[in-house]
Amino acid sequence: MKINIIRPNERNICLRIPTALMLNRLSAHIAAKAAQKNGESLTFEQVYGFFAALKEFKRTHDDWKLVEVQSSSGEYVEITV
């Protein structure tokens, strides 16, 4: 997973995080807990199932741009899986 952050007049940030580190059982537990704290009824099984599907999709579709955000103040964030 690659996270690119471009800010005007600031240093650019490019984070490369191994997908396995982001999408595993532990992160699924953390994500489910965090969602429950925020009032969402997500279970570990749902999150882990979704992560598995995401990893499967990534295998066949490399360099897939998940999100691109451009703020009115000129900041730009891009997440590529």
Partner: protein
């Protein structure tokens, strides 16, 4: 649009009705710098691309690649012409009244899995218009052959949300 970066800058600048001086002023650079960009002698700084694209009213991707975000009209494909749903991409385009732009590309395969798991689709932004969109219905539409610009919502705040399938 098969053009160089400089030609694209010039094209979008003229489309917006700016002079080179006007654009230079907004970008806080000299008019000569803009002239050099447009003549492909130099390129704008990477850090200034978000601001430049915002002033020109396009995305960074559109500025760099020249690919315009296409919003095809909705069509119902007959069964023999339909593609495998797992090869399709659901694109969510949110343009807020404040000038923020959010683009999300979700593979239909993942949307299907999320629905099967009983998950609510994640809130892509705090946009009110997006909360009321039923992704199950969108998936149903796509699985019955609907393609193109499926949803177009404009909230009272001036935010627009468009969802289309490719």
């Amino acid at each position: 649009m098969d053009m160089t970066l400089g030609k694209r800058i010039a094209f979008f600048r003229k489309e917006k009705g700016f002079t080179q001086e006007g654009l230079a002023q907004k970008m806080n650079v000299s008019a000569q710098a803009v002239s050099k960009w447009e003549n492909d002698q130099t390129c704008p700084d990477v850090q200034s691309l978000p601001l430049l694209s915002q002033i020109l009213g396009i995305t960074v991707d559109e500025l760099l690649s020249g690919r315009k975000e296409n919003m095809p009209a909705v069509v119902m494909l007959p069964e023999e012409k339909r593609r495998d749903i797992s090869e399709m991409m659901l694109r969510i385009v949110v343009d807020s009244a404040d000038g923020d732009k959010v683009r999300v590309n979700l593979p239909m395969a993942l949307v299907k899995v999320a629905i099967e798991l009983g998950m609510e689709m994640p809130q892509v932004s705090g946009n009110k218009a997006l909360k009321s969109i039923d992704f199950k219905q969108i998936f149903e539409l796509v699985s019955h052959g609907a393609m193109g610009n499926l949803v177009e919502v404009e909230s009272s705040d001036g935010d627009t949300v468009r969802i289309f399938v490719e």
